[in-house]
Amino acid sequence: MLEVRNLTKVYDDGTVALRNVSFNVPDGEFLVVIGLSGSGKSTLLRCINRLIDPTEGQILWDGVDITKLEGQDLRNLRRKIGMVFQQFNLVKRSTVLTNVMAGRLGYSPTWRSITNQFDEADKKRAQTALQRMGITDQANKRADELSGGQQQRVGIARALMQEPKMILADEPVASLDPVLAHSILQHLENLNQEDGITIICSLHYLDLVQRYSTSVIGLREGQVVYQGNKKQILRMTDKEFKTIYGEEAERMGGISGEIGEEEDAIGEEAAK
């Protein structure tokens, strides 16, 4: 159980990215964070694994306040939380395998990892992760030789190497075409359902949100303006939509009444 309490983040230049944000994420949830660009989604995700230090508030994970962790404790926390990025953030000139093995760094002694020595168990884990993501035959290619969808799978494989309890996905499909977007989100859904990994994911497209999330929070200017579970998302009203995305926003597809049909359509697409 992840509990975020009154989280506030003010950057050095005075920008208020998060304002008093509170919500709970039970284990095994697929939480989607929605909101416009600049609404604080990325900051929120990065506060959870402390890539960004929050200014005020608490984040409790299984009762431990994450915001107070330092040094080795912080690194031990981070290795339990995988992270997937919009730009994949692979080391482009390294091989796929090296990128995947990097997910194990939090568990490896420093001197062994900088001489590229990993033990057999880690190598086996990497094989499994690559297999699971369907990129075994790409293992020895340079990361930048891969297509966007394949790179994101490497990103997920890297996160899997951490044997995470939670995965943070910062707009993981924003740089991908719709078909690839579904395939990547299905991989995440798979991890969520089969391995019970909690997923916190920020997304832009409402149809994807409705298809994959088990609960949703909406951020606007750093504040939580919407919270809902699976059923409520499917019935999201225009008014709720506009509180999240602003008055000028216009809803494209995914109107509450036609959700059923759309879900079928997505199902068919995925089946292809």
Binding site: V91, R93, S113, R158
Partner: protein, 502 residues
Amino acid sequence: MKTKAQTTEEKPSLVPPVVAGLLSLILPGLGHMLARQFRKGLVLLLVFLSAVGLWIWRINDAARREVGFAAMFKKAIQLKPILLIILILIILLYIVIALDAYKTAGKGKPNSFLLWLLVLAAFFILGWQIGEIRPAVLIRDGKNSLPLLMRVLWPWEKAVHYPEELLIGSADVVIPCTENAEVPERVVEEGDPYVTVTPDCGDLSEISGAEGTKLRMVGSNFAPNDETEIWWVDQVRNEFRYRYGGEYVKVVTDENGSFELDVVIPYRVIPSTGGKGYAVWQVEARQVASVGEPVLSEELKLSVEKMIETIFLGMMSTFFGVILSIPISFIASRNLMSANWFTKTIYMIVRTILNIVRSIESLVWAVIAIIAVGLGPFAGILALTVHSIAALGKLYSESIESIDHGPVEAIQATGANWLQTVWYAVIPQIIPPFVSFTIYRWDINVRMSTVIGMVGGGGIGYLLIQWIRLLDYRSAGIAIWFIAITVAILDYVSSEIRERFI
């Protein structure tokens, strides 16, 4: 920017157009300043003042002996008519600035094309005059440098050397004919060239023109079909080449290496015969014959040796430069040093030092290093190392500053510590620029070391400048060829390596 332009359009000029124009006649640019075009006015004022100042300087320079401006002006214009053209341009510029100010203060935006064209023309002609550019001289006298240039361009005649041997056969002549003259015994070994004369004594020619005794000279065992010179050696060993009718006498040997020739004993103010009453002269046949295979010349060998020294000089200074600049580059990167005021201060100080060191040319560093460690390659290595550290430190730190932060974030998120993050996310990103900058620097260092050599920092430059000073342009040409070949090879190799790493 856009809003600024709009506000200037909206605000009217502070003075009416005519006043602006007149003010610009008093002080060029003042009209623009008061017509809310302050910057343009300032630029025009500075441009005008510097043009006038430069023109006065050139007038002074051209007629420095005259007293009084009027006399100077007259003389300078007479000597350098181009100064008059510049004056006309400056006057035109003065008028056009005033007109432009008039239009600027009025409605609408003036077309200042003519104005800037005049500015450009004035400075171009000033530059022409100051630079003493004389294309006519280049065309007229340039051809004088062609023979020299050819020697530099094709110096390879000096690349090989044919070992030569002087073949000498000589015979004694007693002057005048004396019985029982003491003639030293002569031993001619089998196969050596020898000469006989008949008769073997006689009288000298006289200054009046009366010819001396004619001798039949027969030579053998010389190199076949080769030119042979005839020399006389008098009794005090003075050597002089034999002339007949004002011309040096030469004979060409036949295919057996033999020749026959009539020689007349020449006129000579005879040194004392030492009371013996006669003198023993020798008549010699001399051949310069190349023997054996051609060998590489000393100049070529020296060039190769010094070229190797130069390459290693460049290599070692690059090596030391890289080793020392890598740690420096990390503390000179803004993104790694922005943690607090202390690290920021270090960053500022290091960057400043790097900039100062870099702005001092390696040639100057070489002179300083020579004072410290004396002439030779070590001074060159020191100079180039210092300059390399500064240049590479800057280039490296800039490439560290421009890395993609994404992978760093991603590796941090896996729970990696600082060293692991640097190793996995930073190093792979900076390898390509580091490799390419390093090779680029090696390239520069090898080229620079040729120049460093000219002030005594070792390497081929030292030879080059010496040969140029000795006017030995062929040898200098060899050195230049080696430099060119090495730089070309290095260029190719470095682009290959760079391609492989990026």
